[in-house]
């Protein structure tokens, strides 16, 4: 299958390892990955901070960039959530019914990585090897906007060498929330403190998730505390093999 990578601005700029791993993984599974270079940002930050008018151009760009592809994948539940649940809404609010229809069309072919692997490609075992003790944080948008359910866990359970440990209170938000982390920094930090406590209780070496944004938040806190737990994107674990 020919798959277009929607890299997300965050992974492109700050967490390219997650995006490279997505490419390597899909190519290893025999698929062709393309990277439409006109893409930038889906506009979620603008939409969620109250700037839908500014976001309109970004929505238009995103829809135009990915209109021609039969499948689009992103290493992020949150950005796919925005594409699926917000793009058409922004277009409609601006009175552009045609853009809304095209946005819905693109959204219907846009998948978060675990959705693409399990639902579209029908893969459970991606042939990965990752000999570490890992705990998984289900990010809010993958869980409650996309309903990925246990798909990431099913993929992780097949990874050879990986010891998966349950995260207590896993479904509680880490406190990131985009600009929430800045506008309500104290509350965000209080939520993060509980998330980090639960991560450390697991004794895991690695905390993984399907969103670089939440991992940036959890990882930023763990690093500040010198907690000795790393954050690694789900794509990087699934892309890891004994050879590389």
């Amino acid at each position: 299958m020919r798959i277009a990578l929607f890299v997300t601005c965050l992974a492109d700029t700050l967490f390219p390892a997650a995006a490279k791993a997505t490419v390597r993984l899909l190519e290893r599974l025999g698929h062709e990955v393309t990277f439409p270079a006109d893409q930038t940002c889906c506009g979620q930050m603008h939409i969620n901070t109250g700037y839908q008018r500014d976001a309109l151009a970004l929505v238009r760009r995103h829809v135009r960039t990915f209109a021609a592809y039969e499948a689009v994948v992103a290493p992020s539940g949150s950005c796919v959530g925005s594409v699926r649940h917000q793009h058409a809404m922004v277009a409609r609010a601006a009175g552009d019914a045609s853009l809304a229809a095209r946005a819905e069309d693109v959204a219907s072919r846009t998948y978060e990585l675990s959705e693409l692997l399990v639902d579209v490609l029908g893969v459970g075992d991606v042939g990965a090897w990752y000999p570490h003790r890992v705990t998984y944080h289900p990010t809010c948008h993958s869980l409650r906007m996309l309903r990925v359910g246990d798909k990431p866990l099913r993929l992780l359970r097949h990874v050879r060498g990986l010891e998966l440990v349950d995260l207590p209170a896993a479904e509680q938000c880490c406190g990131f929330g985009g600009t929430f982390a800045l506008k309500n920094a104290a509350t965000s930090t209080a939520m993060l403190a509980d998330k980090m406590r639960h991560v450390m209780e697991t004794g895991a070496e690695v905390c993984t998730a399907g969103d670089s944004s939440c991992l940036m938040h959890i990882g930023g806190g763990l690093s500040r505390m010198d907690a000795g737990v790393r954050t690694v994107h789900l794509a990087e674990i699934l892309a890891a093999t004994e050879e590389a």
């Binding site: 990277f35 700037y51 929330g177 600009t179 309500n184």
Partner: protein, 472 residues
Amino acid sequence: MSRTFLGMPATAPRGVGNLRGDEPFPQAARKALGDDQLRRNLGHATTTIRRKSGSVVAELPDWQELRAAGSALKAATMARLPELLEQLEAKVTAAGGVVHWAADAHEANRIVTDLVRATGHDRVIKVKSMATQEIGLNEALEAAGIAPVETDLAELIVQLGHDKPSHILVPAIHRNRAEIREIFLRAMPGVDPALTDDPATLAAAARRYLRETFLSTKVAVSGANFAVAETGTLAVLESEGNGRMCLTLPDTLITVMGIEKVVPAWRDLEVFLQLLPRASTGERMNPYTSMWTGVTPGDGPQNFHLVLLDNGRTAVLADEVGRQALHCIRCSACLNVCPVYERTGGHAYGSVYPGPIGAVLSPQLTGVADNASLPYASSLCGACFDACPVKIDIPSILVHLRNQAPHPRSERMAMAAAAYTMDRPALYARAQHAAKLTRRVTHLPPPLNGWTASRDLPDPPPETFRDWWAAR
């Protein structure tokens, strides 16, 4: 047919009621976060209710269908609200009640105060009611020389403590039993000075005090959970039986009800009486469900007044996205699952409606500018939407209201610059490189110091993804 445009419906007026806080949410939240006792009380209480509600919700095989039915009933009701309210008025009047229409808090307070004055009494007993808290009825009655006595145990604790409620269902959730004992010893008339902080003993002390009051007070004020348009029947759901006392013992009953509480038909209660107790208190069936239709000669209050309150609700109804906030049945499930509420408590929201539903309801009732920080008091985690028994899409309303909120000038400029850059891939790539070349920083200037106060920034990678892809 000629039409007259009467303008947009009014929002709740300033200077009356309890819908606006003294300071923005982030500041109020910071204070609350510093109170360790409060956080322990809240964490304990919300975890307990969450667990209890979760287990009784899980045992119903048709919970999702019930939610869908509740949501559909509310949407259908809002679509013909004027007609249903007029039907309700006709039925209540035919059954011997008197219906009053209050455009806002001022009018409602004046109507109730005048009605109490007309009875010649100077004390009223109250059933727990959000609508009367919203309009500041107790303050208005006190100003008129009338003493309101809250009879719900938690509301009584709040009232005696000269405090404010911090939860829709459990208004004294921020208090533990040692604090409650102190409040009772200080403020409860005739309390036993040897009172302990044993919960049963505390409840018994309140019961002794309240029984006296029930038997000697001739006027009661209540809210309503539901009003059935086809029959004119009012319904109050409560757990302690104090409400039943207030609704049956006095000569005069005055009910203040938000106009969104009407339901079309008696059979609609079948859905809501299943949804509400499971979502709120975690009970399978509500303990005390009182229903009355007008006046029954020789039985119960012989004078019944229904005050229909707008106070900004029509303005909410005018907003296509925001209007679903009017579907709320005040169960408080969204508060109990909210990670923000659990850590800040209800007072930080500055309104009688705290938590996720408060963050979407209060700004709409007052106009967003008067509660501009509330739509941002959420990480948009979505737990509230999942928990809501009538499926109010709170995260979408939050995003919608953020788009209407006034924004700081510096933020507006930064957002416009970011959008401009991101709509130009070459410029965007140059901006990425600028970010990449920045050496690792540990402390950023405001407002970005909100991040670096507690979190490290990621190390900038040696190359962006698009660089790597281009070089492949």
